[in-house]
Amino acid sequence: MIDFSIIFAGFGGQGILSAGKMAAEAALYEGKEVSWFPSYGPEMRGGTANCSVVISDEPIGSPVVNDADVVICLNQPSMEKFEKQLKPGALMILDSSLINVRPERTDIKVIAMPASDIASDLGKMLFAPISMLGCMATETGCFSRDSFEKSLYEVLPERKHKLIPTNVAAFDKGAEYAK
C-alpha cells in the first residue's frame, strides 16, 4: 500500500479528528507509516473540522491530501467540498442520518450509512465516525478490526479502557455496511 489517503470531514464536535487519529493508530499498530494532518486556525472556528490521514508502506510524502482514496463525510457541506478531492473510482462514505442529498460524481463509489443513528443507539454521537471507520476498514482493508481494537488498548489511558468495547461495537456495526 502506497500513500493510501483518507479525508475525515464534518462539524467540530462530531469526533472527526479523533476518528482520524484512531485510523492512524490502527495502521501504526500494523507497522505502517502514517500521518495525520488536521484543519487548523480560523478554519475550525466556523464549526467545520477535517483531517487527512495517509497510510503507507513507504515514507509518506505530503500529509496534506488533495486526491483521496476515501472521504468520510458527516455533513452536507463537507460532502460537497470533498467530493471534488476524490480520485476516480475512490470511495465516499456518508452519514445518511444527516445528509439527504448524494454526490453528483458518478465515477466514485458511494456508501450511505446511518452513522448518527447507529451512534445514537450506542448512546453517544461520537461513535458516528467510528462506525464509518468500521465500514471503511472492512471495505478497503486499510487496517484490520483486530489492529483497531488492540491499538485502542495501547494508546488510551487505562481509565478509558472501559469505553473500548462500545467503540469496537460501533466499528462492527459500521462494518455491516461494507459492500
Binding site: 507509516e33 487548523y40 510524502g61
Partner: protein, 364 residues
Amino acid sequence: MAQKRVLMKGNEVIAEAAIRAGCRNYFGYPITPQTEVMHYMAKKMVEAGGNFVQAESELAAINMVYGAASAGFRAMTSSSSPGISLKQEGISYIAGAELPAVVVNIVRAGPGLGGIQPAQGDYFQATKGGGHGDFRNIVIAPASVQEIYELVVDAFNLADKYRMMVMIMGDGTLGQMMEPVAFRDEEPIENIAKPWAACGRKGDDFHHTITSIYIDPDVLEKKNIELQEKYKIVEANEVRYESVCMDDDPEIVITAFSTCSRISRNVIRQARDMGIKVGMIRPITLWPFPSKPIAEAADMPSVKGFIDVELNAGQMIEDVRLAVNGKKPVYFHGRMGGNLPMQKEILDKIVAIHEGTLKEGGIV
C-alpha cells in the same frame, strides 16, 4: 535504544525534544500554527521542574531567552513568521552577545499578517541574518516528526558548542501533523562548560559581563572578525544534507527542504516509473548551506538540470544557483499563500525539463 513508535504532533515533539535535551526554560507568546509547542510546555516543562513563562510579547519572550542564556541555562522560544519578525531584535543581540539559544519558527504564509497555512517564505530571513548587523544563525530544517525530535536535541548541543542561536525552521504542515516518533532511552546531551555565564561571580576576581555593545570601531571590527571566523568553522563542520537517488547518474536533480522534500520524494518514484532518472539533494542545514554536494552534482555529466521546489517565490534557489555556478540550468517550482505543490505539478515540470521544453526561472 529506541523506544516504541508513538503518534505525536510535530509541535509537541519540538517541546518534548527540548525537555529531553535538558532545556528547562521556555518563553513564548501564542501564534498559530505553533501554539501546541506552548501548550505542551505549559504542562510538561513545569512538570520537569523548568521555567515556563507566557510572555507579554514575542519581544519579551526572546529577551527572556537572552536572560536565561546569559546566566548559562539552556533556553528556547518558538513562534511563527510574524512573531519571528518581532524576535529579530533579540536574535541580533543574541548573535552579538554570542549566546546559545534555540528558536523555533513554524513558518506560515506572508507577507504581513499573511495566512496561517504552511510556507517557506522566511528562508531569506532565517539564513541571511534576519536582524541587523553581520551575523549568522545555524538554521535546521527537519522534514519529519522523527527528524524534528533528533534535530531539536542536536540544536541545543550545537548552540552550546558554538555559542550561537540555532533556528529550527519548520512549517505549518510539519508543526500540525502527527507522525510516528521513536524516542531514545537516553539523549546525547553534550555538557559544555559555560565559564562566561553571568550567574554570579562565585569567587572570580572579575565580573562576568554579557554584552553586544562595542563603541570603539576597532574593537567592534575585531569582534566582527572573530564572529566571521567562528561562522567559517561552522560552515566547515556542520553542513548536513541528504542525497536521494543520486548514485545512478541522475538526469534531473531536485533541490528541496522540509515539506517540499517529502512531496518531491514521491515525485522521484513516479518519474523513475516513467523512465526519468531523478535524484534529490535535501538541505537539512539551510545555513550552513550544502553548496558542495550541489556543485558536485552540477559537474556530473548525466545531470541535465536542477529543479528547485519551495513554498515561496524562489528563495533557496539563489543559493542553489550560486552552487551550480551557471554550469547547468536551474528550474523552479514554487507555491505561495499556504498552498502545497501537488506531485503532478512537479512531475509535469520534470517531464518538460526532460523533453527540453521548460524555460528557466519564473514563478510557479
